[in-house]
């Protein structure tokens, strides 16, 4: 399946082809878009991009962690983590193109209602 990794340079190239600006200006626009999103998130403001997804910062409380090497207990301080929720449009787009390629590869699942001897008792 995958192999390619898309980077900033690819996004800048796409913007360059979309709008008649220089490559440098196109790259600056990409940088600004990412920067503006990061600024909003750092302010604690959620970012919603319709038909793509939303980003929001969530607070995580303090918990006890362990140094995996020494086994020593260390408190993990409360912190903000970023959560990305993909929109249905994006999820459908991904499954519309990837899932059909893999058809028949999944597990064969027999539903209770399809068992010849009726529902399994467990």
């Amino acid at each position: 399946m995958a192999g390619r990794t898309v980077t900033r340079a690819d996004l800048a190239e796409a913007v360059f082809r979309e709008i008649g600006l220089s490559r440098k200006e196109s790259a600056d626009l990409v940088e600004s878009v990412l920067g503006l999103i990061a600024d909003a998130l750092a302010r604690g403001e959620p970012v919603k991009i319709s038909s793509f997804g939303s980003f929001s910062a969530r607070m995580k409380g303090q918990r006890i962690g362990r140094n995996p090497k020494t086994g020593e207990e260390v408190p993990i301080l409360p912190r903000r983590v970023l959560v990305f929720r993909a929109s249905h449009v994006l999820k459908d787009r991904i499954n519309g193109s990837l899932a059909p390629l893999e058809e028949g590869e999944g597990l064969e699942i027999v539903l209770d209602s399809e068992r010849p001897d009726g529902p399994a008792s467990s």
Binding site: E18, S32, I49, S50, L82, A99
Partner: protein, 95 residues
């Protein structure tokens, strides 16, 4: 912040480029379409300092209708994931 607010802020920041408002709109849409297209092809999108988008498979499973408890077949599917980049992660906890 919504997408239209993002477009507005981008237009203000790059006012010296004298683009039409719809051009800033096209820039923002192009960027997210490009990321979506890559993910739809199973590619990874890595934006250093910001984060990385990837697609992970989720195997077929038997789910339950929470209301009736009936077994439901859930096909294998792919889900998009985002991992926050180091720089952004640090910023979230500094400011």
């Amino acid at each position: 912040m919504t997408k239209s607010e993002l477009i507005q802020l981008l237009a203000e920041k790059h006012a010296d480029q004298h683009l039409y408002h719809r051009d800033y709109q096209r820039v923002v849409n192009r960027i997210f379409n490009e990321i979506s297209d890559a993910l739809a092809q199973g590619d990874r999108v890595e934006l250093r300092g910001f984060g990385a988008f990837s697609v992970r498979p989720r195997g077929a499973r038997v789910g339950r209708n929470p209301r009736t408890g009936a077994a439901v077949r859930v096909d294998k599917k792919f889900l998009p994931f985002f991992k926050t980049g180091k720089e952004l992660r640090e910023r979230l906890n500094r400011e």
